[in-house]
Amino acid sequence: MTAVKPSSAAANRRNAKRRTLSATGVFAVAILLLWVLVALFGPFLAPHNEADIVSDVNFTRPTVEYLLGTDYIGRDVFSRLIYGARTTLATGLIATLIAECLGICLGFFAAIRGGIVDSVMSRLNDALLSFPHIMMGLVVIAALGSSIPVLIATSGFVYASAVYRIARALAMDLREKEFIEAARARGEGTWWVLSREILPNTTLPLLTDFALRLSFIILFMSSLGFLGLGVQPPTADWGSMVRENMEGLGSGSLAPIIPAAAIASITVALNLLVDELSRRTGRIYGGARE
C-alpha cells in the first residue's frame, strides 16, 4: 500500500469546501427556509382568513390594506398566499415522503434479493415509468374524484417508480462491496444490512433525490390544481389560486401571477440546491422533468 496520503492542510481545505454552500446554494436554502417559516406561522402572519371575503371589489390593485390586492371574489390574495403555502408545502412533502419511502424500500429490497424477484419488480416498474405521470393522475382523479388524500396518494405512488430506480441503482453499486460482504459473513440479516450499511452510505444521493422529487411533485400537484382537478375551493392552494384568478389576467391583475411565482420560487430553489448537491455526489440529477 503506497497510496500517497494527502497533506492534512489540503484535506482540511477540501472538507471545509464540502461543508459550505456556494452563494446560489445559500440563496436557495434561504428561499426554502422563508417559505417553511411562512407555512409554519401562517395563521399568525395572515391578516385575514383564507376563505373570508373581505372586499366588495374583486381584483383590486395592491393597497396598504390588501398588500397583494384581492382575488376574483374579493378575498385577500396575501392571506391566501400564506395559507396556500401550508397546503402546497404540506401536501407536497407528505407525497414526497410516501414516494421516497415506498421507492427506497422496494428498490433496496429488489437490489438485495436480486434474481427473479428483482427482474419481475424492475420490469413492472419500467412499465409504470412508460406512462406519463400527468395521464396517470388524470385517470385516477377521473375515477376517484379530487380530494387531498387522493392527490397525496396518487402523487406519492406515481413518483415512487422513479425513486425505486435510483434507490435500486445505488444499492446495486454497494451490494458487492467488501463491508457488505463482511456484514453478511458476520451473519447479519437483510434488514440490518439495509438499514445499517446501505442506507447510511446512500444518504447524500437520496437526500438530493428527495429535493428533486419534491420539486417535481409540487409541479405535478400544482399543475393538477391549475387544471381545476387539484385541491378544491375554498381551501387555498397555489396551483388552484392561479386557475381561480385567470379571468383577472386580461385586466392586468397580479392575482394569478403571484401564486404561480411562489411555486416557481420553490421549484427553482430546490433545483439550485439539487445542482449544488449533485456536484458533490458526482451523480447527475435532473435532466428531463418527470
Binding site: T24, A127, S130, F131, P132, H133, I134, M135, M136, L138, V139, V140, I141, A142, A143, L144, S215, L219, S222, S223, F226, L227, G228, L229, G239, V242, M246, L249, G250, S251, G252, P256, I257, A260, A261, I263, A264, T267, V268, L270, N271, L272, D275, I284, G286, G287, A288, R289
Partner: protein
C-alpha cells in the same frame, strides 16, 4: 441490430397493451360504476338500469375490455357520455390542433437547444456556459402556467402585441397563425429548450473528455473540426436520444399549456372530460397520448442503439 430494435418495438407494444388495460381498469376503480358516476347520487334505479344496459355494464368486465380493445384497434372509441357524439369525431376535431402546437414547439426548440448546448459545451466553465447553465436550470424548473401567464401579462395585456387567447378555429392567414400561436409555442419551447440544452451540453462535454479527442488535439486538429467532425459524430446517438426524450415531455407540458391559452386541442378535451367524468373520451385521449409517448421513448432507444456501435453490431 434489427433484432434488438425489433425486441424493443415488441416491448413498446406490450407496454401499450398494459396501458390500455390500466386505462380501462381506472374506470373500474370507481366506487359504484360509470352509470352511477354519470347520473349522480339521486338517480332512480330504473334510469340507472337503463344506462347500464346502454353502456353494456351488465356484461362482465373482462368481456367489456376485450370488446373495447377490439373497437380501439378499428379506431372506434365508443360514444361520448356527455355529448352523445362518437368519440372519434371529437378526437379528430382536436388532434390536428394539438399536432400543430407540438410540432411547431419541437421545430422551434430543437435547433435553439442545439446551438445553446453546443455553444456551452465548447467552452465548459466559460462565461456563456455559466450563464446558459444557470438560466437553463432555472427555466426548466418553472411551471408552464407561470411562464404562460407571465407572457400573457407582458405581451397581451401590457404591450398589446398578441391576443391573450389562441383562437384557432381556422387560420385565415399566416400572420394570424403566428400571432395566435406565438405564446403557447414559446411557453412549451422554453421548458424543453432548457432541458434539452442541459442534456446536450452534458453529452458533448462527456464525449470531449474521451481520449480520442485528446489525441486529435495533440495531432493539431482545429477546435472547430474536433467538435463538428470528431465529437459530434459520436454524440449523435445520445443527442437523438435526448431530443426524443424531451419531445415525449411535450405530452405532459401540452396539457397545461392548452389550458392556459384556452387552446382547442386534444389535451383540453381530456381535461374537460375528466371534469365531467366522460369516460369513453378520457380513455381515448389517454390512450392516444400514451401511445405517442411510448412511440417517442421507443425512438429514443432506437436512436441510442443506432448511435452506439457496440449495440449496433451485437448479434
Amino acid at each position: 441490430m434489427l433484432n434488438l430494435i425489433g425486441r424493443r418495438a415488441l416491448q413498446g407494444l406490450l407496454t401499450l397493451l398494459l396501458v390500455s388495460f390500466l386505462v380501462f381498469a381506472g374506470t373500474e376503480l370507481l366506487p359504484g360504476d360509470v352509470a352511477q358516476a354519470v347520473l349522480g347520487q339521486h338517480a332512480t334505479p330504473e334510469s340507472l338500469q337503463e344506462l347500464r344496459v346502454q353502456l353494456g355494464l351488465d356484461r362482465p368486465a373482462a368481456l367489456r375490455y376485450v370488446s373495447w380493445l377490439a373497437g380501439v384497434i378499428h379506431l372506434d372509441f365508443g360514444v361520448s357520455l356527455a355529448s352523445q357524439v362518437p368519440v372519434r369525431t371529437l378526437v379528430m376535431d382536436r388532434l390536428g390542433h394539438t399536432l400543430i402546437l407540438a410540432g411547431l414547439s419541437a421545430a422551434v426548440a430543437v435547433p435553439i437547444a442545439f446551438v445553446i448546448g453546443l455553444g456551452a459545451a465548447t467552452r465548459p466553465a466559460g462565461v456563456f456556459d455559466r450563464i446558459s447553465s444557470i438560466a437553463a436550470l432555472c427555466v426548466s424548473a418553472l411551471p408552464e402556467f407561470f411562464l404562460g401567464t407571465l407572457l400573457v401579462l407582458i405581451f397581451a395585456v401590457n404591450l398589446r402585441w398578441l391576443p391573450a387567447i389562441a383562437y384557432v378555429t381556422e387560420f385565415r392567414s399566416f400572420g394570424q397563425m403566428v400571432t395566435s400561436l406565438a405564446m403557447p409555442v414559446a411557453t412549451l419551447a422554453a421548458v424543453i429548450i432548457s432541458q434539452m440544452a442541459r442534456m446536450i451540453r452534458a453529452t458533448v462535454v462527456n464525449v470531449l473528455s474521451l481520449p480520442y479527442v485528446e489525441m486529435a488535439v495533440l495531432k493539431g486538429v482545429s477546435y472547430r473540426r474536433i467538435i463538428l467532425v470528431h465529437a459530434l459524430r459520436n454524440a449523435v446517438g445520445p443527442i437523438a436520444n435526448v431530443v426524443a426524450l424531451n419531445l415525449a415531455y411535450l405530452v405532459s407540458g401540452i396539457v397545461v399549456v392548452e389550458t392556459v391559452f384556452v387552446y382547442p386541442g386534444l389535451a383540453r378535451l381530456l381535461v374537460d372530460a375528466v371534469s365531467s367524468r366522460d369516460f369513453p373520451v378520457i380513455q381515448a385521449c389517454v390512450l392516444i397520448f400514451c401511445a405517442v409517448y411510448i412511440a417517442l421513448m421507443l425512438l429514443a432507444d432506437i436512436a441510442a442503439i443506432i448511435g452506439n456501435p457496440r449495440l449496433r453490431h451485437q448479434e
